[in-house]
Amino acid sequence: MTTETAQQAQLTAVLLQHEVEQFYYHEAALLDAHRYEDWVLLFTEDTHYFMPLRRTVTRRQLHLEFTKPGEMAFFDEDKNYLEIRARKFATGTSWAEDPPSRTRHLITNVHIAEKSGDELQVHSNFLLYRTRLKNDVDQWVGRREDTLRFTEAGLAIAKRHIFLDQTVLQSANLSSFF
């Protein structure tokens, strides 16, 4: 009996893991297809999309490595700003993405850290590979800490904090989403 319950729980976990991963693959595909306005629909109204700045500090001062909300960041967005950004790319005059970049979002190490109520805390790693024009190449690797919420429309992103593995950004801009 116990074994059966344990197996049941394992199966539930596997299915949940599968659902979350499929959600991320779908999201990545939207971004790589430049379907930004559809992508924004994956976020809840109260979402917080945040990419802090990262600094090289000594191990003793590692608590100061990332800036915090209320301090400077690369992205600090509510749903409204995400919509503005998506609309910007659709204006036809957003030259940073015209010609469009080629991007590939690789999402790995998906780990459901916590499940409480209708929310999941999910950690994942990403590699965003971008090429532009003839020979511009940018790569960003990092970690995401998401809060995913079960809504009537399915999973939605209620929080995304993005931690980039660069301090001095090695690219001229960030005209992609993470």
Partner: protein, 450 residues
């Protein structure tokens, strides 16, 4: 026959009369080396703001040309800056960008330096050096002069450089006043740093370029992020690749700009505050309304709503940020954004300000997203054998503007123009000749006409 070196042709590189610049100055390695020596090796350079290092032992690593210096808050509250290179065998004595320390210990052999840069510890000094090493002779190498102007910390490697306020002159001081006057200013934690494959001069030229936003940042206009009067478009202009007329927003401020040019190459350029209010209907920032501020900025200064630039690479924005352009290679420049807030502002005011700092400039900024590629592509084309022979044009308003000299400022009231860029290149060339400070000042006294 060997090609003549660009350096031997300084005179012909910049023509104030024709408004033309030789494109080779943007990719030539020899020119870059000269710039590092004669400009960045001598000029007063912005390092950081005092609020970034409030406590004893706080430090911030800042670039000075090809060097990196540690700016350190001292025990007595003063500030010192020294090269981040060990006096033993050159290792960096600090490998963090910022932080707080009691001392700097070199991780190679352990030489240890105090907050003042003095050598205070040498492992095995009696055993290996028989106590014969005179520690006082091997401190970290200090900058020649360091001074703050209203909290902005500058340093120079040249001990003969004039004092900072004199170097800044009325134009440079006004540029910093336009930031300092906003309140009890501090830097918001987090300096955005990013890398553009461009020559630093393109990034400086752009500071004054009020001709590009309508096109480069057209998408931001389209979204209403930059206020523009509705249904008012520029004639005769841009067509899309399908031949359709692009609706280029026309800003009445384009017809009334204030330019100031100053000794040593400092300049200010951009819209007139009153014209800006009338044309966009946007209320001026509250800080401008204070009588003391108006008095401090003066009759002319209080009209400035554009962009001050302190030669060679420090830009103060209208929104309350400071951007440092850091040359790393002829074709590689880092951009560092220092973002300010008033210590006494309310949480709501701070939140709004932070949001505008994040959403306008910086690599993800809704404006600056578009800038880098223009500069990178412009830099790239200066490498073409034939492309680099095409002169760079700065002809807008050329020869049509009177300069009025008043209050120590040289002021031009004119429609949008390219005078400030030309002035920067003119001064740049004079710096490259490596004159004495006296000669340099004389040669960069603004002309009466532009």
């Amino acid at each position: 026959m060997a090609e003549t070196s660009v350096v031997d042709q300084l005179d012909s590189l910049v023509s104030l009369e024709r408004g033309e610049i030789d494109r080779r100055i943007f990719s030539d390695q020899e020119i870059f080396n000269l710039e590092m020596k004669h400009i960045f090796g001598r000029a007063w350079l912005f390092l950081c703001h005092e609020s970034q290092i409030p406590k004893r032992g706080d430090f911030f690593e800042a670039p000075m040309g090809t060097d990196n210096v540690l700016v350190v808050r001292q025990k007595d509250g003063g500030i010192k800056a020294f090269l981040n290179t060990c006096s033993h065998r050159g290792n960096a004595v600090c490998r963090a960008e910022e932080g707080n320390v009691r001392n700097f210990m070199c991780t190679y052999h352990g030489w240890t330096f105090g907050l003042d840069g003095e050598l205070v510890g040498v492992p095995g000094s009696s055993l290996f050096y028989k106590d014969k090493l005179d520690r006082s002779k091997y401190p970290l190498r200090k900058v020649a002069q360091l001074e703050s102007y209203r909290g902005f910390v500058f340093a120079t490697f040249d001990e003969t450089a004039p004092p900072l306020p004199e170097y800044l002159g009325a134009t440079g001081r006004l540029g910093l006043d336009l930031l300092a006057e906003r309140g009890d200013m501090e830097v918001i934690p987090g300096i955005q740093k990013f890398t553009v494959k461009t020559n630093w001069k393109f990034t400086v030229d752009n500071v004054f370029d009020y001709y590009h936003p309508q096109i480069t940042h057209m998408s931001a206009f389209a979204l209403g992020l930059i206020p523009a009067p509705p249904d008012n478009y520029m004639e005769g202009g841009a067509k899309s690749e399908t031949g359709a007329n692009l609706e280029v927003p026309f800003l009445p401020t384009d017809l009334h700009n204030v330019v100031m040019v100053g000794e040593y190459g400092h300049a200010i350029s951009g819209p007139d505050q009153d014209a800006l209010e009338v044309s966009t209907g946007v209320e001026p920032f509250a800080w401008r309304h204070n009588d003391e501020t108006q008095a401090r900025l003066g009759r002319h200064g209080s009209r400035v709503a554009g962009h001050p630039h302190i030669f060679p690479t420090t830009w103060v924005t209208a929104g309350g940020q400071l951007s440092l352009r850091v040359p790393r290679e002829p074709g590689v420049t880092e951009i560092w954004w220092f973002s300010f807030r008033d210590k006494n502002a309310s949480p709501e005011e701070n939140a709004a300000l932070l949001s505008s700092h994040i959403h306008f400039f910086g690599p993800a900024g809704l404006l600056e997203q578009e800038d880098g590629e223009n500069w990178a592509q412009s830099t790239l084309q200066t490498k073409g054998l034939r492309s680099r022979e095409v002169p760079q044009l700065l002809k807008m308003g050329l020869g049509t503007s009177e300069v009025v000299k008043d209050d120590g400022l040289a002021i031009i009231d004119a429609p949008i123009n390219e005078h400030a860029q030309l002035w920067t290149y003119h001064s740049w060339r004079e710096w490259l000749r490596n004159p004495t400070w006296e000669e340099l000042r004389e040669r960069t006294v603004p002309h009466d006409r532009f």
